[in-house]
Amino acid sequence: MNVKIDSLYKSFGNNHVVDNVSFAINDGELVTLLGPSGCGKTTVLRVLAGLEQPTSGTVRVGEKVFNDATHATPPHQRGIGMVFQSYALWPHRTVFENVSFPLEIRKLAASERASKIAQALKLVDLGELGHRYPHELSGGQQQRVALARAIAQQPTVLLLDEPLSNLDAKLREQMRGDLKALQQSLKLTMLYVTHDRLEALELSHRMAIMDHGKLVQMGTPDEIRENPVNDFVRHFIS
């Protein structure tokens, strides 16, 4: 499903954190939002998720308009999946129950639910750990559960908010490969927020670079590396 964001503004009081941002993501494409801390990239992601309301601007996914001047679709009606930076696994539910939750909400039959959960857990290589609670898992395993939960509901778009930032360097490298393979096999439309240029360069079909709430440049990793629009992009990417 393609995504289109038009003239997006978001202010907290006098602080303009997103300033006239517009971009589109094609169906099945992985776009990273890259920029330093506080540049507004997570806010753009949260607006797309419906967790923040924009001050103005339009958000479309496929044919549906989620945000415009007249209305805002609540997050639970958008059909978008999200992996949080802190994973946000529910501590009172096992791995199986965490992944099952979005399917329970959609009232899927028990047998269908079980097969989808098994499929999602297999995709992230956690087939044997369904009975465990989040506190019984390592950081990398928790990250995989969060991913399985997000993809089990077959989202129209998958949002990832710095999902690898809490992992050590070796695990991060392995997870980058796994994420890329997963995206390619599922052909998911993904928006990936990070401040790590290596992650962005390795994963993205296209990158969108933000600074002080503005979208500074968007293009493929090669285009940006070869033709940075200003010093900020050149320094940030090098």
């Binding site: 998720a49 419906g50 967790l51 609540p74 997050p75 639970h76 009606q77 059909g79 978008i80 999946g81 999200m82 949080f84 802190s86 946000a88 696994l89 529910w90 501590p91 009172h92 939750f101 979005p102 909400i105 959609r106 969060a146 939960r149 997000a150 509901q153």
Partner: protein, 540 residues
């Protein structure tokens, strides 16, 4: 979800209006100062002495209990004691907080009543002089201090458990002796907590009723609460009660106001992000001596009085230690004493109030913590005021406001308990909800769950220990509540607290002891359940 929160705010607000605001306004309007000869009233010697006695009780209790509570908390949580004895001593010192103070008055009457008290009889047997007279203001202060020390320790426990030991180490490395370090570093660091603790304990002593009614009234020494009770029970004098209530309320208000004023001072102690257990001190001779003093206070404060009540409940003749009479336990609950009905009434009125406090509390706390709603925050503050008000004033206001309608029913008791103790549930639930990360809710929304479904499927299961704690923490003080109950009960609505009080005062101390032991067992069992359910986060 906002609609549910708004509905809960409206209903909870209505309960607050009906249970606190309207009754207080009507009470003071209908029976208060402008209807009486205020000058003549305040010229009465009995009023002067009641005000002075209340102030003396509050001041002495606050000073002694805060000093003891501070010393014992420092001793227990700053020194490296063997785990078992230190935990046992801490438990013994804090147990009185779970039980109503008048139980300890009953216990000490059994121990130190002139001629017949167990301790006095033991002293007479050894040809030693008897204990000083228990009845009167000094005896009242003594028993109040033993109970209030537990309250002070609970207030100060958190401070000492997180104390940054390196600040004391730095003083020692500068050459200061342990005593100098304590007075120059530890005490000044704890100043804001000490002031807050002293004010809280003085408010508690100001509104005390059970202990002064049992120990000071027999010596014809009255405090404000007991003078109000005497006026109502003897002469149905609501006008005098209103004036005395106004005095009590004014003093309480001034103390609370000074607490706000003192609370503005920033605490010196800043807890840094560096995690780790604070370094503990090694006990030497002085600390070991203080440990022995604390053990003595624990024995006097909870051990001996509880044992005395148990003995009184099991003996037919209190002067004959061989006259065991277990049948009394059966007769109190099956005979004409009304023990069983009182137990049922207490469970019904307290249970309803605790459930309402928790059910509304969880929604309002959600509104304040997660939705940042101002009406929810105001409601939480307003219910806290209910806890700070003297129970006597709340009960009188309800009596006048509901005269002829729900008086003499369990509804008025439930409402009174709710007004006084809803704050316990809110204080437990608000931080518990606040501690649940926003992203756990957001993850549920992103999984397709509506806010209402998220509340029920994610938040409520995570809050189960806090919900249990809120119900039980509100229930424990209500089960044997005395101050409001003695004014509000009618025929058929007697509660455990009021029946125990009346039996002890007028007829049958043995049966009072049986009911007190039953209440103690129930409360200690609830505390044990609470500790287990909350994995040690709540309870004593």
């Amino acid at each position: 979800m906002r609609a549910i929160v708004r509905a809960a705010e409206a209903l909870y607000g209505l309960l607050l209006m009906a249970g606190l605001v309207a009754p207080l306004v009507i009470f003071f309007y209908r029976v208060a100062p402008w209807h009486s000869d205020v000058g003549a009233f305040f010229a009465q010697k009995s009023v002067h002495s009641a005000v002075l006695n209340s102030l003396a009780l509050a001041l002495a209790t606050a000073l002694i209990a805060t000093t003891l509570g501070f010393a014992f908390s420092w001793l227990l949580w700053r020194f490296d004691w063997p785990r078992g004895p230190a935990r046992a001593l801490a438990l013994m010192l804090k147990i009185p907080y779970l039980l109503p103070p008048f139980f300890f008055a009953i216990g000490w009457i059994a121990l130190a009543a002139p001629q017949v008290g167990y301790l006095n009889r033991a002293l007479a047997f050894m040809h030693l002089p008897m204990l000083p007279l228990l009845y009167g203001l000094p005896g009242t202060i003594f028993v109040e201090v033993l109970w209030t020390t537990a309250l002070a320790m609970i207030q100060l426990q958190g401070f000492f458990q997180q104390f940054p030991g390196h600040l004391e180490d730095a003083a020692v490395l500068c050459g200061a002796s342990p005593a100098r370090t304590f007075f120059s570093i530890t005490v000044p660091l704890a100043k804001p907590q000490l002031i807050s603790c002293a004010l809280l304990t003085s408010v508690s002593a100001l509104s005390a009723f059970g202990v002064p009614a049992m120990l000071a009234s027999p010596a014809h020494q009255f405090v404000l609460t007991t003078l109000i009770y005497q006026g109502i029970k003897s002469y149905q004098d609501f006008s005098q009660a209103a004036l005395l209530s106004l005095v009590l309320l004014t003093i309480t208000f001034l103390v609370l106001l000074s607490q706000r004023f003192c609370g503005r001072a920033k605490p010196f102690l800043l807890v840094g992000g560096k995690a780790g257990r604070p370094a503990q001190l090694q006990p030497r001779a002085g600390a070991k001596f203080l440990f022995a003093v604390a053990a003595l206070v624990a024995v006097l404060g909870s051990g001996l009085p509880c044992l005395a009540i148990l003995a009184r409940s099991l003996l037919r003749d209190p002067s004959d230690l061989t006259s065991w009479n277990v049948e009394k336990y059966v007769s109190v609950f099956t005979g004409t004493t009304g023990g069983f009905l009182a137990l049922l009434n207490s469970i019904s009125a307290s249970g309803l109030a605790a459930l309402v406090a928790t059910l509304f509390g969880v929604v309002v706390a959600y509104g304040a913590s997660k939705l940042g709603r101002r009406p929810s925050r105001i409601l939480i503050e307003a219910w806290n005021i209910g806890y700070a008000l003297p129970g006597t004033v709340i009960a009188l206001a309800l009596l006048v406001f509901f005269a002829g309608s729900i008086t003499d029913t369990l509804w008025i008791l439930s409402l009174a308990y709710l007004v006084k103790y809803a704050a316990f549930a809110l204080r437990t639930l608000t931080p518990a909800i606040g501690a649940i990360g926003k992203e756990l809710e957001e993850a549920a929304w992103m999984s397709g769950a509506s806010p209402v479904k998220t509340f029920f499927k994610i938040l409520l299961p995570l809050l189960q220990p806090a919900l249990a704690a809120a119900v039980l923490l509100a229930l424990v003080p209500m089960l044997s509540e005395l101050t409001m109950s003695v004014l509000l009960v009618g025929a058929g609505t007697e509660t455990l607290g009021s029946v125990i009080f009346k039996m002890q005062e007028y007829a049958d101390p043995g049966s009072a002891a049986v009911l007190a032991v039953t209440a103690m067992a129930a409360i200690l069992a609830l505390n044990a359940i609470l500790k287990r359910v909350s994995k040690g986060n709540f309870g004593i």
